[in-house]
């Protein structure tokens, strides 16, 4: 048995290795996000606001698609209410950010990122002035924003737990219907249970904190939200989502999700607590959808409205995941980028845009019914069967 113990020692990485292996992906993501913010954005120039916004939309789309991949792709549970998690995260983050900054900053211009955001949250180019001098890298408002987005993610994760519970009993079509219903419930509740948001800082201060969730905009939408979502924040969270998804796919913990997709009974026979893992998948996935929602709510040019986050939005995300290949992280990411850019590229054909979009989708699904990459990743050889054939 002593050789067994020696073996075990060999297989267990030392503290140093664990630290390096655990930390470098986070460092890489942070660096990439900073590069996006301070490298790419200036490179696109002043006239590049349009392209900057497109890149940002792509980042949010990737976060949404990859987070849905964890449930629909890895675990094989068909959820049709992903936009609802996004809505929960968006409204929670927006409420905290908007009313939080009114309370904390207490000035009339509390919702103006131009006056409060640090360089890290600056999206509009006029904020930087000539060289951005005098503006801190990270301001207190930025930290409030980070907190708001994280709380939005947690709120969505809580909802993910609730929605995950019926998935213990329901499968296939029935679960799809339940999640669809959940999405509509969230939309209707937000639209019917809240009223116009408050604009006046004194009025906001006069209300007790627990009264504020009533003023989230209702049917007209939550207007006047500050635009803190920058390339930095989007790609920070996008990177984290992809990292978590990847680690899940490659770990024992994540393989439990995959095994449920492949054969639930066999998974159970392997000792996988399938019910618990299904709920976990929903919770993790909903967290990142909620984060994406928080980022979406504070994006330039977005008017947060629950009506926009109904089942149509859910389907958009499902299409990304199916098109990329159910279970493929890179596939979902690539599809998210394509489907975000495609409508813009088709702008020239104006009224036929949606027809062309639909045709493109149909064509891809006929040519590659398993999605662009199937269950594989771009770097797997299995994803490129036609290349392999040629080599032979």
């Amino acid at each position: 048995m002593s050789s067994l113990r020696e073996n075990a020692k060999k297989l267990t990485p030392g503290l140093g290795e664990t630290l390096v292996r655990g930390v470098w992906p986070f460092a890489a993501i942070l660096l990439a996000a900073l590069l996006m913010q301070f490298g790419l954005k200036p490179a696109l120039g002043d006239g590049g606001a349009f392209y900057t916004k497109l890149v940002l939309d792509c980042g949010i789309a990737i976060t949404l698609a990859v987070s849905l991949t964890m449930v629909n792709g890895f675990t094989g549970q068909f959820s049709m209410g992903h936009a609802a998690f996004m809505a929960v995260g968006a409204y929670a983050a927006a409420g905290i950010m908007y009313y939080g900054s009114a309370r904390v900053l207490g000035t009339e211009n509390f919702a103006d990122p131009g006056a409060h955001a640090g360089l890290i949250s600056t999206m509009l180019s006029d904020r930087q002035g000539a060289d951005g001098s005098g503006v801190p890298l990270v301001s207190g408002a930025d930290l409030l924003f980070l907190g708001a987005v994280l709380v939005g993610g947690l709120a969505a994760a809580g909802c993910g737990y609730l929605v995950g519970l019926p998935s213990l009993r329901l499968r296939g079509d029935y679960l799809a219907i339940v999640t669809l219903g959940f999405g509509e419930i969230v939309r209707v509740l937000i639209q019917s249970q809240t009223t116009d948001s408050l604009y006046d800082v004194q009025e906001i201060k006069a209300k007790a904190w627990y009264e504020l969730p009533k003023y989230l905009g209702g049917p007209v939408g939550f207007t006047g939200l500050p635009f803190y979502t920058s390339l930095f924040w989007v790609f920070l969270f996008c990177g984290l989502t992809v990292l978590v998804a990847y680690r899940l796919k490659e770990s024992t913990f994540g393989r439990a999700f995959l095994s449920i997709r492949e054969d639930e009974i066999a998974a159970e026979a392997m000792g996988v607590d399938t019910t618990r893992y299904k709920v976990r998948a929903f919770v993790i996935s909903a967290f990142f959808a909620g984060v994406a929602g928080g980022l979406y709510a504070h994006t330039v040019g977005v008017q947060l409205n629950a009506g926009e986050l109904g089942f149509v939005k859910s389907f958009d995300i499902i299409i990304m995941v199916v098109l990329g290949g159910l279970g493929s992280i890179s596939g979902a990411a690539i599809a998210a980028v394509i489907l975000t850019l495609l409508p813009e590229a088709l702008r020239d054909v104006a009224q036929y845009r949606m027809v062309a979009y639909a045709l493109a989708l149909i064509t891809i699904m006929i040519l590659r019914p398993q999605g662009l990459l199937g269950v594989h990743e771009v770097w797997n050889r299995e994803a490129w069967p036609w290349l392999r054939k040629k080599r032979k």
Partner: protein
């Protein structure tokens, strides 16, 4: 080691098992033979917790496991190679094997690596195909994978559900030889089979199941000689 007492199982209004009792002693191969729909797989799946019994009891190493969840039963040392093999077909052979040891703790890493090596020695074909998608394996290879995967849990009692199903005679021979080897290495086996001929050859004890009831039991070699079994299951008029 395992004792099933008067097990009754219903599928909705239909009773599948009408009081099945059987015993498995440590170190033995015990087989459960019978025709299609006799309730063999139902018995096995009830033991591993995938189906709940209406009444009766399942006692494993002195403790009742009748109401223990299936993923907990695996942790008690009772692993199943499910009917139809239950291969994770979109995953590689290697990933399938590693899921087999899912229930074992992190501290067992070295022992798991050892068991993996042992299984690959037992099934050299799998070693050649480690990185291949399990869905692309032949039927025989998939059966080997299902058994190798079940062994990754280092079970004390291995439940095999129709390992010969749909396989060529030559592969069936091979599978049964390996079943013997696994047993010789110290794993107790409960084997459910339609291929009574092969099953009775490797087993120590046998039970014959007919429409949800045990109709015969005894020493496997004796049963193989008995007229009733020869007529009904071995094709000797």
């Amino acid at each position: 080691m395992l004792e099933v007492r008067d097990l009754r199982v219903n599928y909705g209004a239909i009773r599948a098992l009408h009081g099945v009792s059987l015993r498995v002693e440590r170190g033995q191969i015990v087989t459960l033979i019978g025709c299609n729909g006799a309730g063999k797989s139902t018995t096995l799946r009830t033991i591993s917790g995938l189906i709940r019994a209406a009444s009766g009891d399942i006692v494993y190493e002195g403790k009742s496991i009748r109401s223990v969840a299936p993923h907990e039963i695996v942790r008690l040392g009772l692993a199943q190679s499910p009917e139809g093999r239950g291969i994770f077909s979109n995953m590689s052979v290697d990933e399938n094997l590693s899921l087999g040891s899912f229930a074992r703790g992190r501290h067992e890493k070295a022992a798991i690596a050892q068991d993996r090596e042992r299984a690959l020695t037992l099934f050299p074909r799998l070693r050649e195909r480690l990185r291949q998608n399990a869905g692309t394996l032949s039927g025989g290879e998939q059966q080997m994978l299902a058994m190798a995967r079940a062994l990754q849990a280092r079970p004390k009692l291995l439940l095999l559900d129709e390992p010969s199903l749909g396989l060529a005679p030559q592969i069936v021979q091979l599978i049964f030889r390996i079943i013997r080897e696994i047993n010789a290495a110290g794993t107790t086996i409960l084997l459910v089979e339609q291929n009574a001929h092969m099953a009775l050859q490797v087993a120590n004890r046998a039970y014959v199941l007919e429409v949800g009831r045990i109709v015969m039991e005894g020493d496997a070699k004796e049963l193989a000689k008995s007229d009733a079994v020869r007529k009904a299951y071995l094709g000797h008029g």
